[in-house]
């Protein structure tokens, strides 16, 4: 009997069926420059790629999950990440680790255990009654206003700002998804550094951190320069992102970190744990997009990782900080 021919793909992107983003085009270009084969999975081809991977007809060396719902195993994109992992591919992010990180309640306790500073938080479970009431001391520690967030939410969906902390307000917020756990979290007030809010988004990609200013009001990114990093004492910011990566075991995510007043100077607090997949819309196309230079760099680095994997080398796990410009 004739043996089926095996096809090898250096990089497979589980893109999630959206319209092809400029990021994907940049990634293709970076793969071409390195003479790497690259397959972008969309609704038209994902089932075929999944079947071929499961049957061994296709060997994926590295798989990049841009779909990002690792707990939803009914979709072919998620199944593809698991199939690639089971067939020996290097998957960014490992679906099991990503599934764990998707639950903010789980992550909250992991961060506390790892001494990662987080805002004061109370967790309500989905089986707790809708008349859940905060104690007086909890109300005092939460302050006013505070936030109620679904543990498995993403993209600000289901996040409600609570002014008084009444039973009704909390119950209404929890109705967003009655099957989910919720985080009742103290509101964080960042310091102001000149005209900038001390609020940052750190992108982590396989041992490297890229730091950006993030204005929660205008939803605008701006790269942190090497001069700002040095002069404003932001060394701890990158270190916190590296520690978060260590706890989560994820290779590619973004996290929000606020700089708050402390008894001596300032300190950094992790406010939004880990976001995956990262929306890599370029700033050229959207006001709230990621600066183009950073998107180009992310594609460059992912292609470099795929290059290392294609050479059977373990991607280096350093602790670099990258600055645009």
């Amino acid at each position: 009997m004739r043996k089926a021919t095996n096809r090898i793909v250096d990089l497979c992107v589980a893109d999630g069926g959206r319209e092809e983003e400029p990021f994907t085009a940049v990634l293709r270009r970076q793969c071409d420059a390195r003479k790497l084969s690259c397959v972008i999975c969309n609704d038209a081809n994902v089932r075929q790629v999944l079947r071929d991977t499961e049957s061994g007809r296709l060997r994926i060396r590295m798989c990049l999950d841009m779909f990002g719902h690792p707990e939803n195993t009914s979709t072919p994109y998620t199944r593809l990440t698991y199939a690639a992992k089971d067939a020996g591919a290097f998957v960014i992010n490992d679906p099991e680790n990503a599934a764990r990180a998707e639950n903010k309640a789980t992550v909250h306790y992991e961060f506390l255990r790892a001494d990662i500073p987080v805002p004061f938080t109370i967790i309500t479970r989905n089986w707790q009654p809708s008349r859940f009431r905060l104690s007086a001391s909890e109300k005092r520690r939460l302050g006013s206003p505070f936030f109620v967030k679904p543990a498995r939410g993403y993209g600000k969906q289901g996040v409600v700002r609570i002014e008084r902390g009444s039973v009704k307000e909390i119950a209404r917020a929890r109705r967003f998804d009655p099957g989910d756990d919720f985080l009742i979290q103290k509101s964080i007030t960042p310091v102001w550094i000149g005209h900038r809010m001390g609020w940052f988004r750190a992108l982590y990609l396989a041992g490297q951190v890229v730091l950006c200013w993030w204005d929660t009001g205008t939803q605008h990114y701006e790269p942190v320069t090497i001069r700002q990093y040095s002069d404003l004492g932001l060394g701890g910011l990158a270190d916190l992102a590296l520690r978060i990566a260590g706890v989560l075991g994820m290779d590619f995510f973004s996290t929000e970190i606020a700089m708050v007043k402390a008894s001596r100077g300032h300190r950094f607090v992790s406010v939004d744990y880990a976001n995956h997949p990262i929306d890599l819309t370029m700033q050229t196309f959207s006001h709230s997009g990621v600066p183009d230079e950073i998107v180009e760099h992310v594609a460059d680095r992912i292609a470099d990782l795929a290059l290392d994997v294609s050479r059977n080398e373990t991607p280096a796990a350093g602790a670099d900080v990258w600055f645009a410009g």
């Binding site: 001069r227 990093y229 040095s230 990158a238 270190d239 180009e296 290392d308 080398e313 602790a319």
Partner: protein, 325 residues
């Protein structure tokens, strides 16, 4: 008969061992990038130069590890000039060697640009000027000074002393008459967590690699992310970047300390940029490139050569390279 290649993306002149970690890493990095790499040995230098002169050989990026800038007519310097004339990107530019191989001139430039440097004087121990420096100069150097030959890179004569008779001390210690010497006030570094805050900062095509340093022991390993954050060493990154901007060098090592007697940690450059970056002839501690810096150095160089071959700028952004936690 094997046809000789006429084009390499990367080349360097090399007199060290084949087993040197930098050469090993560079060979690996060039293979990873799939670029042609030529290592020019002493015995081949003349032949290579003739081929370059006749237009039969072209190297995209050429790293000089031998010409120390003292003798502008040396065979090594002529090879670098021939490479530049043929259109290679020579690191560093041989036409600027009179500037970057002059320690006193670089120190002056850094000082004028506002970079913190120790008090210094450039002297000439010729024997005609008596034995003592003018009082004002002596006061600037006391209580202890360090003298190094002003011209040349790498292993140059060094003297540390507290003698008031600076010129006679230099003559007694064998500093050749008629050759400029850079004499700097010697500062002691702050100790923190049982370590002297003394560093070598490698700047390798916009990758900054900080290493712990001992005054005579040389580099003592890369700084890790935890140490970087806890000791608030972020200002070192901007300092290395500033030295690169002022000197115009892509590839160098500089030495910095956090001197005692200042409030906050304010690093100071105590040794200006050395453009052979610790790879020069017979390089020994303290200025030799340590093994753990060889990999990022080789990757930075191969990446720059690869990008140039694609018609791009040799670097994309800046990065700070730290050891993992």
């Amino acid at each position: 008969m094997k046809k000789q290649r006429t084009r390499y993306e990367l080349g360097l002149n090399w007199r060290g061992r084949d087993s040197h970690p930098f050469l090993r890493e560079l060979t690996r990095a060039a293979k990873r990038r799939k670029i042609g790499f030529l290592c020019v040995r002493k015995e081949d230098a003349g032949r290579v130069r003739r081929r370059v002169d006749r237009g039969k050989l072209r190297i995209g990026l050429f790293l000089n590890t031998q010409a120390d800038g003292v003798n502008m007519e040396s065979e090594e310097m002529e090879l670098c000039c021939a490479m530049k004339a043929s259109g290679s990107w020579v690191v560093e530019d041989p036409d600027d060697a009179r500037v970057y191989a002059d320690r006193a001139l670089l120190m002056e430039r850094l000082h004028l640009a506002g970079v913190p440097v120790p008090s210094f004087v450039a002297v000439n121990p010729s024997g005609n000027e008596g034995t003592r420096l003018p009082r004002a100069q002596r006061l600037r150097l006391m209580p202890q000074w360090r003298a190094r030959s002003a011209r040349g890179m790498g292993n140059v004569r060094t003297l540390t002393s507290s003698a008031a008779y600076v010129l006679s001390s230099l003559r007694r210690s064998g500093f050749p008459p008629g050759k400029k010497v850079l004499v700097c006030r010697r500062h002691r570094p702050v100790r923190s967590g049982g370590r002297d805050l003394r560093f070598f900062l490698w700047h390798l095509f916009d990758r900054i690699v900080p290493c712990w340093a001992g005054e005579s022991a040389g580099a003592l390993g890369m700084v890790n992310a935890e140490e970087w954050s806890e000791r608030n060493l972020a200002p070192l990154a901007a300092l290395a970047d500033t030295v690169a901007r002022i000197t115009g060098l892509d590839w160098f090592v500089t030495e910095a300390i956090c001197p005692r007697g200042r409030g906050a940690l304010q690093p100071m450059i105590v040794e200006p940029a050395e453009a052979l970056a610790g790879l020069g002839p017979g390089m020994s501690p303290p200025y030799r490139m340590p093994a753990d810096v060889c990999r990022p150095a080789a990757e930075a160089l191969a990446d720059a050569a690869w990008r140039l071959s694609l018609g791009e700028a040799p670097v994309r952004g800046k990065s700070l390279v730290l050891a993992g936690r």
